[in-house]
Amino acid sequence: MRAARGVLIAAGVLGLALGAYVLLDTVALRRLPGVALWIGAAIVLHDAVISPLVFGLGVLTRRAGHRLAGGIIVTAQAAIVLGSLMTLIVLPAIVAQDLGPKNPSILPLDYALNLGLFWLVLAAVSVLVSLWFYVRTRRANQRPSRIQS
């Protein structure tokens, strides 16, 4: 274990050094602050914006759904996370498309429409899944003996 850890850490430091060398070797010096800025901004964006939002979402959904089965809350959370993630990935495509791609075969789809459809399907599916959870929980509550036996 000790040896493996040593090798991994040494190899890692070597990789980091190589990365730093490649960066200094191939990227103009005046561009490097931009790289550092983006790395720093990514950390801040995640730790100070995305994470608190996700935490708040967890608290709010659990409170709003406190009378409902856990499965329904999780379904709603999953749908919101899934939709937000897809929006995060597709939104830049919509912006880039709006700015005008360099030729018509780049970004040829109607991404905004597809994203809207994605959210709609997501909402419909989560309602169905929630209904299924609801019915299942009700049945279980009405016939407790079957669950307990």
Partner: protein, 426 residues
């Protein structure tokens, strides 16, 4: 400050934030990173080979698969990386923030690891959209950060190896101390699997007063989900997210998914003659030279130079091949090409099939106006100087009057608007 950090960790505690989950998601993310790194290096060296390198020319769709996989694995990193960060987020609130110099280095390397990974996948995604809103060059930074990430990954695995080894397999019943990824035991929170125990989570600490205290107790009164529901819900969400971001974009590379390609930056069959275009004739500024009546393709491969007009090329024996165009941006498109075998053309011009070639385009500027082709591709019977695409004369946007098409190479090396082919004398 210390209490705030403890409070933060207690509030953030969750049944999915434990070392076992960090190991499970970490393994997948590590695998995705390694796949990206390997396929990325392959693509890099195809474009900038070291002198001793040769590459396989079969299967002909090899690059289509490696680069398609690079993009697919890269996009899968979005949910996986966010999930991993979600699991270990309470670690951010360690107190004291730094315990020793080694600990400082470790935390700094984690910060670099996280920041570099987020930037790497983001600029990679933006590159597939051909949108460059960042103040640095894409290719060089994407390449350099790859080493930074793999380096910090190795350091991270080295540091965490005992934890990873202990949680490689699921414990039959998680012990209470495994509820928290960090940690000191002074964070009590929900040791039980249900809401009751969570309610009493911070008995050991004096209550925080004021607004912070009110917010905290509001959060405390929020019912907890059962541990099992939380864990299953989390894993299901991660799995669905990966399936969605991959499934709805990968159709630009992998034909069976074309029907559900809702969000891919390219669409199969969209473009002149049913093939997407990367660099246009207008961008390359070749519209005049490529359409000039006196265009010839000159071969300087041995002895005297020899030039062929397009009519002369068309008069030579023609070969039909089906080869994909596969772009570094991940999309690919199968197409039927017709033209003269490069091998035969080199023969005709008195060259040796064992020489590496330099391909020169009509392009005046751009990184790929001049590229090199290893002899393994020159010898390959599938490599053509293509004159027709999908049954029609090559479109100007696809490299009219003549372009190169070879098996297993990135699109940027399938030189369009060919002007001159030279043997590279060693």
């Amino acid at each position: 400050m210390r209490r705030l950090m403890y409070e933060a960790r207690a509030q953030l505690a969750s049944p999915v934030r434990n070392p076992r989950m960090a190991t499970v998601i970490g393994r997948l993310l590590g695998l995705a990173f390694l796949v990206c790194f390997g396929t990325g290096l392959y693509s890099h060296f195809l474009q900038q080979p070291l002198p001793w390198m040769t590459f396989p020319t079969r299967p002909a769709g090899l690059y289509q698969v490696t680069q398609g996989t690079h993009i697919v694995a890269g996009i899968a990193c979005f949910p996986l990386l966010l999930a991993k960060l979600y699991v270990v987020f309470p670690q951010l609130f360690q107190y004291p923030p730094v315990t020793s110099f080694a600990n400082f280095l470790e935390r700094a390397s984690i910060a670099l690891f996280v920041g570099a990974s987020l930037v790497e996948i983001t600029i990679g995604l933006l590159n597939t959209y051909q949108w460059y809103p960042f103040p640095f060059p894409f290719k060089q930074v994407h390449f350099a950060l790859a080493f930074v990430i793999i380096g910090s990954l190795a350091v991270h695995i080295g540091v965490k190896l005992p934890v990873i080894a202990a949680h490689w397999r699921a414990a039959p019943v998680p012990a209470p101390e495994e509820r928290h990824p960090v940690d000191t035991g002074s964070v009590e929170a929900s040791t039980g699997a249900d809401a009751e125990t969570a309610q009493s989570s911070d008995e050991g600490l004096p209550r925080t007063r004021g607004l912070t205290g009110r917010v905290l107790s509001y959060i405390d009164r929020t019912p907890e989900l059962s541990a099992r529901t939380s864990r299953r819900g989390f894993l299901t969400t991660v799995a669905l997210s990966v399936a969605a971001v991959v499934g709805l974009t990968a159709g630009q590379t992998f034909a069976p998914l074309d029907a559900v390609n809702l969000f891919g930056p390219r669409k199969k069959g969209v473009g002149q003659q049913g093939v997407p275009v990367n660099r246009t004739s207008a961008q390359a500024k070749v519209s005049t030279t490529a359409l000039a009546a006196d265009w010839v393709l000159t071969l300087a491969v041995g002895g005297a130079e020899r030039s062929f007009s397009r009519a002369e090329l068309v008069a030579l024996p023609q070969t039909d091949v089906d080869l994909p165009i596969a772009c570094v941006e991940g999309w690919s498109q199968m197409a039927s090409w017709r033209g003269v075998r490069l091998r035969d053309l080199v023969d005709l011009a008195g060259g040796s099939p064992d020489a590496d070639l330099r391909l020169i385009s009509l392009e005046q500027r751009g990184g790929f106006k001049q590229t090199e082709m290893g002899s393994e591709y020159v010898r390959d019977p599938l490599t053509l100087v293509a004159l027709e695409l999908n049954g029609e004369t090559l479109d100007l946007e696809h490299g009219y009057p003549a372009r190169m098409i070879a098996p297993g190479r990135p699109g940027v090396l399938q030189t369009k608007w060919l002007s001159r082919i030279e043997a590279i004398t060693a």
